[in-house]
Each structure stands twice: as structure tokens, then as C-alpha cells.
């Protein structure tokens, strides 16, 4: 099992999620984050005054998958989250030691 984290542009969330469910992935945990990278922040209007925010809102998907699904999940995310513009995001893959389904106590691949 591996954990895949994908940091993507917020407007891409539904498209990525739909594409993942087509390859059989339905368990996903999503976190709203702030991204600092090559793509600069943006200007916001607050009470009529303009001020610069140096980060950009991003969304982080966390998906735990069996080893044999890793490359397919990466390809699916890459294909659907890409716009070709700076700030499209990153995919990170991590090793894991154990997974437990809290409801049933199942462990390992049976738990995801």
C-alpha cells in the first residue's frame, strides 16, 4: 500500500474525483491548503482596498491505494489536473506500514 498526495488547483477537484472513481477509487480525503510556489499569489479586494496575498488556495487529495494501482492513479491525476499553466501542482507518493478500517477492524488491503 502507498499513500498518494496530490496538490491541485481547487477548480479541478470534481474532474479529478470523477476520473478516479472511473478507475475504481472512491475513498479520498480532501484538505484545503495554501500553496506557495513559482506561481505567485493574487490581489484581493477587502473592504474596497486592494492587498496582495502571497499564497494561492490549493486542494490536497490524500488517497491510500494498493501498490498495483499507484501508477494508474498518478496517470489519472496528471491527465485531469493538468492545465499546462504554472501552479498545476504536485503528486507525492509515500510508503505505508498499515491501514485499519475503524468500522470493522479490517487491516491491510481489505481496509481500503
Amino acid at each position: 500500500m502507498k499513500k498518494i498526495e496530490a496538490i491541485i488547483k481547487p477548480f479541478k477537484l470534481d474532474e479529478v474525483k470523477d476520473a478516479l472513481s472511473e478507475v475504481g477509487i472512491q475513498g479520498i480525503t480532501v484538505v484545503e491548503v495554501k500553496g506557495f510556489g513559482r506561481q505567485k499569489g493574487h490581489t484581493e479586494l477587502y473592504r474596497g482596498a486592494e492587498y496582495v496575498v502571497d499564497f494561492l488556495p490549493k486542494v490536497k487529495l490524500e488517497i491510500v491505494v494498493p501498490d498495483n494501482l499507484v501508477s494508474q492513479v498518478i496517470d489519472t491525476i496528471e491527465r485531469t489536473a493538468r492545465t499546462g499553466r504554472i501552479g498545476d501542482g504536485k503528486i507525492f507518493v509515500y510508503p505505508m506500514d498499515e491501514v485499519v478500517r475503524i468500522r470493522t477492524g479490517e487491516r491491510g488491503e481489505a481496509a481500503i
Binding site: 513559482r38 506561481q39 505567485k40 490581489t43 499546462g84 499553466r85 504554472i86
Partner: protein, 293 residues
């Protein structure tokens, strides 16, 4: 201003003008540029970096950093060049290319001045900054070649980047010395013979950060246009890595046509601090180059 000085200044100001003209439409497609600007013919500012009109980006700033290292006592010293790039990164520049950042960070961490060979190093970040080396070794083709490659290797180590750096350096050197456009065409034809990937006739029409796309775009508009302005307007309206293709086209067209060929409105809008440093660097770099021959 004419002669070598006029062409050298034309190349360096041309590079900065191309950068400032193209940066507001970097990463945009041709269609998006047409929709938003019609035919882009002036320095509008804005873009993904929210630039002021006439503001330059990493393309010009890395060239200036390299120039500063060459002007320091001791002449061409690779560690001094890497140090100048590191000082530039610490100044929190408006933009830094990914491969350039990785290479400069590697130097800052472990002091090595040569990047290991990598398949992803075929970007245009090393070629865009060669001009100060060319001007400082105008009369020494071998030094021009080896020094252009050595500074490139601080961040980029890929045969396609090397091939483009060598060709662009020699083209610019000969143009500043007064050779004609058709005369330097042979250098690009030689490059295409050695690496057919660079073939630009018929022009494939891509303008990304990939050095092959960049060189094809620059060669297509440089050889396909009669004057500085037409060349640059053609290049930047292609979009893609428009500041870098603009900078390289501006360097070549400026070297060929001389500083007086650069439209007055573009020279006036260019960041004055940048223009001043360029004018100072050209004088001293040419003096360095002259003393070598």
C-alpha cells in the same frame, strides 16, 4: 550609434526589451493573446507575474548577474558566476526557472559548480543568459564557446541545451562583429545537420520552455523577418515561453540591426535602472573582450 558598440548595445537592450515585451503573455496561447490584446505590439505589463510595463524577468536578471561576475576583478571565474546567481536568488527575484533554481540551490548547498546530467535539463534557462560571456570574448571564439558552456552547466547539463548554447553564442558573436544574417544562417543549418530535432523549416509552431521549441521559434522569426520590430512582434504573439523567446530573438535581432533599430517607445518604457546597468555593462564587457584579442 554604429559599429560593434551599437550592435552590442542592440543585443543587450534587445534581450531586455524582448523579455519585457513577452513576459506579460508568458504561458498564454496565441488565441488567448489575440483575444486579450489583439496583436501585442507594446509593453503592457500584467500577466501571471503581474508586471509593471517595461519590467524584465529572470531572463534579463540572470544575464545581468552573470555580467556582474565577469566585471569583478579576476575576469571569468566560474565560482564567482555561481555566487552571483546565488546572490540573485537571495534577492527574491520576481521569477526563477525550475531548473535554474535547482542548480543554484545545489551550488548553495554543496558548492559544486557543475550540474549532473539530467533528462529534464533541456530547458531554455541556460541559453537565455549567454550574452555577457559573448561580449567579453568577442574576439576569441574558443573562449566564447567554452565559457558559454561552463556557465550553462552550473544549472543545465543536457546535450540539447549545450548544442543551443554553442550555436546561439557563436551566432551572436559573429553578428555583433558585423557579419550578416545570411552568413550566420550556416551555423543554424550546421546545428540542424547535427541534431535534426532543431529543424525549424517548416516551422512546427511550438513555443514552450523546451530549448528545441525555443530555438525553432527564434530562428523562424529571426530569419523570416526584415527588421527588429517585426521579428519581436511575431515571436511574442506566439505565446508560450514568450519572454524567453522574445529575449533571445531580441538579442539576435539587436545584434544584427544595432541599437537604433529598437523602437523608441520600447526603449522608453523599459525599466530605466535595467537600461542603465546594461549600458554600463556593455562598455566594460567590450573592453574586456577587446583586451583578449
Amino acid at each position: 550609434m554604429s559599429g560593434v558598440r551599437g550592435r552590442a548595445l542592440g543585443a543587450y537592450l534587445g534581450l531586455a526589451v524582448g523579455d519585457a515585451l513577452g513576459a506579460p503573455v508568458e504561458f498564454m496561447t496565441q488565441a488567448e493573446i489575440r483575444e486579450r490584446h489583439g496583436l501585442l505590439r507594446e509593453m503592457v505589463g500584467g500577466g501571471w507575474l503581474r508586471l509593471r510595463p517595461g519590467q524584465v524577468t529572470d531572463d534579463t536578471e540572470m544575464s545581468l548577474a552573470l555580467g556582474r561576475a565577469l566585471l569583478a576583478p579576476g575576469g571569468f571565474e566560474l565560482r564567482a558566476v555561481a555566487e552571483a546567481f546565488a546572490a540573485w536568488i537571495r534577492s527574491r527575484p520576481i521569477d526563477v526557472g525550475n531548473t535554474c533554481r535547482q542548480g543554484i540551490r545545489r551550488f548553495m548547498m554543496d558548492g559544486t559548480i557543475k550540474a549532473p546530467p539530467r533528462e529534464w535539463h533541456a530547458g531554455n534557462g541556460a541559453a537565455m543568459r549567454i550574452l555577457p560571456v559573448v561580449l567579453a570574448s568577442l574576439h576569441d571564439p574558443e573562449a566564447c564557446r567554452t565559457r558559454s558552456l561552463a556557465q550553462a552547466r552550473i544549472t543545465h547539463n543536457h546535450p540539447l541545451s549545450d548544442a543551443a548554447v554553442e550555436t546561439l553564442a557563436e551566432m551572436t558573436r559573429r553578428l555583433v562583429l558585423g557579419e550578416s544574417k545570411p552568413a550566420v544562417r550556416g551555423l543554424v543549418d550546421e546545428l540542424v545537420r547535427r541534431s535534426p530535432l532543431f529543424r525549424f523549416d517548416p516551422y512546427p509552431g511550438r513555443a514552450s520552455g523546451y530549448i528545441v521549441d525555443t530555438l525553432q521559434t527564434v530562428a523562424h522569426f529571426f530569419f523570416g523577418s526584415e527588421d527588429f520590430e517585426t521579428c519581436l512582434v511575431g515571436v511574442v504573439n506566439r505565446g508560450g515561453d514568450a519572454d524567453t523567446t522574445g529575449a533571445l530573438a531580441g538579442m539576435l535581432a539587436g545584434a544584427a540591426c544595432g541599437v537604433d533599430a529598437i523602437p523608441r517607445t520600447w526603449r522608453r518604457t523599459l525599466d530605466p535602472k535595467v537600461a542603465r546597468e546594461i549600458e554600463t555593462q556593455v562598455e566594460v564587457l567590450l573592453a574586456l573582450g577587446a583586451s583578449v584579442s
